[in-house]
C-alpha cells in the first residue's frame, strides 16, 4: 500500500496565531480517512496547505507523491476538493458550475453527473445566489464526485445536508471506496465517521493527538465495566488502569484502560461473577475525552482570575 498524503511536523502561523503546531497526518492510498477536531483545531488550514493555497511555515507535506505548493496544478488534475463553506458565483447556474469545475479538472462523466443530480435531487437551473446552503454544498459535491480523480479532499461536506442527503452521501463515499479512491474526510458527525472511515486522525490545537483505526483507538481508551459479585472484592483499587471505582456492597462500577482489561477481569473472576456488563468506548467518548482536556485548559485561567 502506498501513501496518498503524508504530512509531518506541519507548522503554520498567521501573525501571532499558531494555527498548526507540528501536525502529522498519513493517509494510505485507497482508504477513507476521518479527520476530526474541534472548531479552530486547524483542519481547514491543513487542507488549504495540501491544496497549495497556503504555504507551510515549517514541516513537510507530500500529496500523491508531489509537493503541494510547487506542483499544485499538476496535482490538482488528480484530486477534487469540496470546501466547507461553498460560495457560488451569483449569476452562474448550479449546472454551469458543475460543468465548469469538472472541465477545469480535466473532464467529467456526463452519465455520472446526471445520476448524481438525480440522487441528490438538485435543480441545476437555479442561479448561484438562489441556492440554500445545503444546495450549494450539493453543487460542490456533485462537481467533485462526478470527476474521475484519485483523491477526494472533503471539508465537512455534509454540513447543511438533510439526513436523507447525508445517507446518499454515505452511499457515494462507499462507492468511491470500492472504486479504489482515497478520501480525506474532515467531519464533525461522528456517526458518519464511524460508518465510513477506515482510519481516523484526531487533531487539537494544531497537533495530532490520536491516529489509527477505530479499533486501535478504542484500545487506547477506557471501557466501562459494572459487575455484581459473589463476595466483597479486594484490591481492585490497586490494579493498574482502573479509574472511577465505585464499590457498593458486592456491586462494582469502574472505568478501565482497555489494554488493562485482562487484569481487572481476572480479579473480578476471583471474587466470583454473578453478572457483568462491559461497554466499549464510543467514538463520542473518545472525542469528548480529547476535547475535554481542551475545555479544562480553557477554564483554568478563569479559576485563577477568580
Amino acid at each position: 500500500m502506498t501513501t496518498a498524503i503524508s504530512v509531518s511536523g506541519l507548522v503554520k502561523t498567521f501573525g501571532r496565531t499558531r494555527a498548526l503546531d507540528g501536525l502529522d497526518l498519513t493517509v494510505e492510498t485507497g482508504e477513507v480517512h476521518g479527520f476530526l477536531g474541534p472548531n479552530g483545531a486547524g483542519k481547514t488550514t491543513t487542507l488549504r496547505i495540501l491544496l497549495g493555497l497556503l504555504r507551510a511555515t515549517a514541516g513537510t507535506a507530500t500529496l500523491l507523491g508531489g509537493d503541494p505548493w510547487h506542483d499544485a496544478t499538476a496535482l490538482h488534475r488528480r484530486l477534487a476538493y469540496v470546501p466547507g463553506d461553498v460560495t457560488l458565483w451569483p449569476n452562474l447556474t448550479g449546472g454551469e458550475v458543475i460543468d465548469l469545475l469538472g472541465r477545469l479538472r480535466g473532464g467529467l462523466d456526463p452519465k455520472r453527473r446526471a445520476s448524481l443530480l438525480e440522487r441528490f435531487d438538485l435543480d441545476p437551473t437555479k442561479k448561484g445566489r438562489a441556492y440554500s446552503k445545503g444546495n450549494r454544498q450539493k453543487v460542490a459535491l456533485i462537481a467533485a464526485l462526478a470527476s474521475d480523480v484519485e483523491l477526494l479532499l472533503l471539508d465537512e461536506p455534509t454540513s447543511g445536508l438533510d439526513p436523507l442527503m447525508e445517507e446518499m452521501f454515505r452511499e457515494c463515499i462507499e462507492e468511491e471506496r470500492r472504486a479504489g479512491r482515497t478520501v480525506l474526510l474532515s467531519s464533525h458527525i461522528l456517526a458518519e465517521v464511524e460508518a465510513l472511515c477506515d482510519r481516523v486522525s484526531i487533531i487539537r490545537a494544531g497537533r495530532t493527538v490520536e491516529t489509527g483505526t477505530l479499533a486501535q483507538l478504542r484500545h487506547l481508551t477506557r471501557t466501562s465495566v459494572s459487575a455484581e459479585l459473589a463476595g466483597i472484592p479486594n484490591g481492585l483499587a490497586e490494579l493498574p488502569g482502573v479509574h472511577d471505582l465505585h464499590v457498593d456492597g458486592n456491586r462494582v462500577r469502574c472505568q478501565v484502560d482497555t489494554d488493562k482489561l485482562d487484569a481487572l477481569l481476572k480479579a473480578l473472576a476471583a471474587a466470583g461473577v454473578r453478572s457483568l456488563t462491559s461497554q466499549p468506548p464510543t467514538l463520542e467518548e473518545l472525542f469528548l475525552r480529547h476535547y475535554q482536556d481542551d475545555l479544562v485548559a480553557r477554564e483554568r485561567p478563569l479559576e485563577v482570575a477568580r
Partner: protein, 533 residues
C-alpha cells in the same frame, strides 16, 4: 412602528463599519472645495483679473459641458467654485450610492441581514438605517462645506446655497440607490443602475449647458445636478430649484419603501429566472469564466463610452463658432494658427477625461480578483488545474483590453461625429481616434498598480481606487491649486502626449508601458508567493 424596530442599533452598526471610510470621503470632498476656493482667491484678487479669466473660458461649450454654466464667473464665488462644482456633485452622489447599497442590498446578498433580521429588527430597519446614515452624512457634508468657506470673503447665503446643493444632490442619489437596491438581487447591479442614472444626469446637463441660447438648454432641467446649478449661488441667487432636490429624494424614498413592501428578504422585485442546466461549450477555462463574470459590466461601459464619445465629438467643432462674436479673441486664435488649435486642445482634454473614466473600469475589473478571493469562490477554482497566475491573468486581461475597447469605441464615436460635422471624415477621424487610444499606457499603469497592490498587499488592494482619485484630483485641480510640477508628475496621465493638439512622442508612452509591465510582474510575483484567502 414594528417595521422600524432596531433601526438605531443598525445606525450605530453602520457608523461603526464606516468609521474610517465615511470621514475620509467627507474630508476629501470638503478639502477639495476649500482648496479650490482658497487658491482662486489668491490667484484672482480683484474683479478685473476675474473678468479677464472669465472671458477666456465663458464661451467654450466643451468646457461648459464638462464643468457647468459659466454665467457667474465674474464673481469671486462663481469663479472659485465653477470648476470643482460638477465633479464634487458627482463624487457626493457616488459616496451616497455606495453608503446605501453597502448597508442594504450587499448585506442581504451576503446573508448577513438574515442574521440581523432574526433579532428584534423590523422589516424596514436596514433600509431606514442606511438612509439615515446617508442623509445624515450629506447634511454633515453641507455643514462642513459651509463652515470651511465662511472665512473666505464669500457671501454667506451663496455659500449656504452651494453647500446645501451638494448635500441635496447626495440625498437624491442615496434615495435612487435605495430604489435600485429593491429592484435587483445583487449589489453590483444596484450600484450599476444608480451609476447609470448618475451618468444620464451628468450627460443631460452637459448637453443642456453646452447648448447655449439656441439649443435645447431645457435638457439641464431634467437633471438633478442641473437643478443644483440653477440655484446660481454666487450669481442671481434663486433658492427654489433647491427645493426640487428634496422633493425628488422624497419621491424616490417613498418608492423604495413601496417596493420593499412587495418583496421577500434577499429577493429583488424583478424575479429571478432559471438558467441553463448545463454549461455552454465555451465555458471551459478560467478566461471564459472571467469573461462570463465581467462581460455584462463591460457591455454597459461600452454603451456609455459610445454615447460619451458621440456627444463630445459633436460638440467639438462648435468651439470655433463660440468665438464668433469676440473679434479680439478670434484674431488672437488666427495668429496662433486658427481655431483648429482650440478644437484640438478640446479633443485632447476630453479624451484625457475619457481615459480617467476608462481607468475606473480597469481598477474595477482588476479588483474582481480580490472579490473572488475574499468570497472564497476562488478556492474550488484553484483546487483544479488552474494555477494562480493563470487565474489572475484571466481577469487582468479584461482589465487591460477592456479599457482599450472602451477608448477605441469613444474614439470611433467621437471621430465619426466630429468628422461628419466638419465635413472631413477621412482627415479628422484618425486624429480623434488617435487622441483616444494614445491614453492607454497611462490607464495600464493604474491597472498595473492595482494588480501590484493585490499581489503584494491584498488587504490594500483598493489602493487602485485611491490612486485613481489622486490622479483625478491632481489633474483637475492641480493647475488651479498651483501645485508643484513634481507633484503633478506623479500622475501618469500628465505624461501622455496631448494628441491631436501636440505631436506624438513615443518615449513617454514606452516608459509608461514599461512601468505598467513592471507593476504587473511585481503583482504576479507577489501573488505567486503569498497565501490565498
Amino acid at each position: 412602528m414594528t417595521a422600524l424596530a432596531g433601526t438605531w442599533a443598525l445606525v450605530r452598526l453602520n457608523l461603526r463599519r464606516d468609521r474610517l471610510m465615511l470621514p475620509a470621503w467627507l474630508a476629501a470632498l470638503v478639502v477639495s472645495l476649500y482648496g479650490s476656493v482658497a487658491s482662486t482667491v489668491t490667484l484672482y484678487p480683484d474683479a478685473d483679473s476675474r473678468l479677464r479669466a472669465a472671458a477666456v473660458i465663458a464661451k467654450n461649450p466643451a468646457v461648459i459641458a464638462l464643468y457647468g454654466p459659466t454665467t457667474d464667473l465674474g464673481t469671486l464665488g462663481g469663479l472659485a467654485t465653477w470648476k470643482p462644482a460638477t465633479l464634487l456633485a458627482v463624487l457626493t452622489a457616488l459616496m451616497s450610492m455606495l453608503l446605501v447599497v453597502r448597508h442594504t442590498r450587499a448585506e442581504e446578498e451576503t446573508g448577513r441581514l438574515e442574521l440581523v433580521g432574526a433579532g428584534v429588527v423590523g422589516r424596514h430597519a436596514a433600509l431606514t438605517a442606511a438612509l439615515i446614515v446617508a442623509f445624515g452624512a450629506n447634511l454633515v457634508l453641507a455643514a462642513l462645506m459651509t463652515l470651511s468657506l465662511l472665512g473666505q470673503d464669500l457671501p454667506a447665503d451663496g455659500v449656504l446655497a452651494l453647500s446645501l446643493g451638494f448635500g441635496a444632490v447626495g440625498c437624491v442619489f442615496a434615495a435612487i440607490a435605495a430604489v435600485a437596491a429593491q429592484l435587483t438581487d445583487s449589489s453590483r447591479a444596484a450600484n450599476g443602475i444608480t451609476a447609470s442614472v448618475l451618468g444620464v444626469a451628468f450627460l443631460l446637463r452637459a448637453a443642456g449647458d453646452a447648448a447655449g441660447n439656441t439649443g435645447p438648454s431645457w435638457l439641464s432641467w431634467l437633471s438633478p445636478i442641473g437643478w443644483a446649478q440653477k440655484v446660481h449661488p454666487f450669481g442671481d441667487l434663486s433658492w427654489w430649484p433647491l427645493l426640487l432636490l428634496p422633493a425628488l429624494a422624497t419621491v424616490a424614498t417613498v418608492a423604495a419603501y413601496r417596493l420593499a413592501d412587495r418583496r421577500d428578504l434577499a429577493a429583488g422585485v424583478l424575479p429571478p429566472r432559471p438558467g441553463p442546466a448545463e454549461a455552454g461549450p465555451t465555458l471551459r477555462n478560467a478566461l471564459a469564466l472571467a469573461w462570463r463574470l465581467q462581460r455584462g459590466s463591460l457591455l454597459g461601459w461600452t454603451v456609455g463610452f459610445a454615447v460619451l464619445g458621440g456627444v463630445m465629438g459633436s460638440i467639438a467643432s462648435s468651439i470655433g463658432d463660440a468665438l464668433g462674436d469676440n473679434p479680439a479673441l478670434r484674431d488672437f486664435m488666427q495668429r496662433l494658427g486658427g481655431t483648429g488649435i482650440l478644437v484640438d486642445a478640446y479633443i485632447a482634454t476630453t479624451m484625457g477625461i475619457a481615459a480617467l473614466v476608462a481607468t475606473a473600469f480597469a481598477v474595477q475589473a482588476t479588483l474582481r480578483l480580490r472579490a473572488e478571493e475574499a468570497s472564497q469562490r476562488v478556492e474550488p477554482l484553484l483546487a483544479t488545474r488552474v494555477g494562480r497566475i493563470r487565474w489572475a491573468l484571466s481577469h487582468f486581461v479584461i482589465a487591460v483590453l477592456g479599457p482599450a475597447a472602451l477608448l477605441a469605441v469613444a474614439g470611433v464615436a467621437a471621430g465619426l461625429a466630429h468628422g461628419n460635422r466638419v465635413g472631413d471624415l477621412r482627415g479628422q477621424f484618425w486624429r480623434v481616434f488617435g487622441a483616444a487610444v494614445v491614453q492607454l499606457p497611462a490607464v495600464w499603469v493604474v491597472a498595473g498598480l492595482t494588480l501590484a497592490a493585490f499581489g503584494l498587499a491584498p488587504r490594500f488592494a483598493t489602493a487602485g481606487w485611491a490612486a485613481l482619485v489622486l490622479f483625478l484630483l491632481v489633474g483637475e485641480l492641480g493647475p488651479t491649486l498651483q501645485l508643484d510640477q513634481r507633484l503633478l508628475d506623479i500622475s501618469p496621465f500628465v505624461h501622455v502626449p496631448r494628441l491631436p493638439f501636440a505631436d506624438l512622442t513615443f518615449l513617454p508612452l514606452l516608459v509608461l508601458t514599461a512601468l505598467a509591465l513592471t507593476l504587473t510582474a511585481a503583482g504576479l510575483a507577489g501573488l505567486r508567493r503569498r497565501d490565498i484567502g
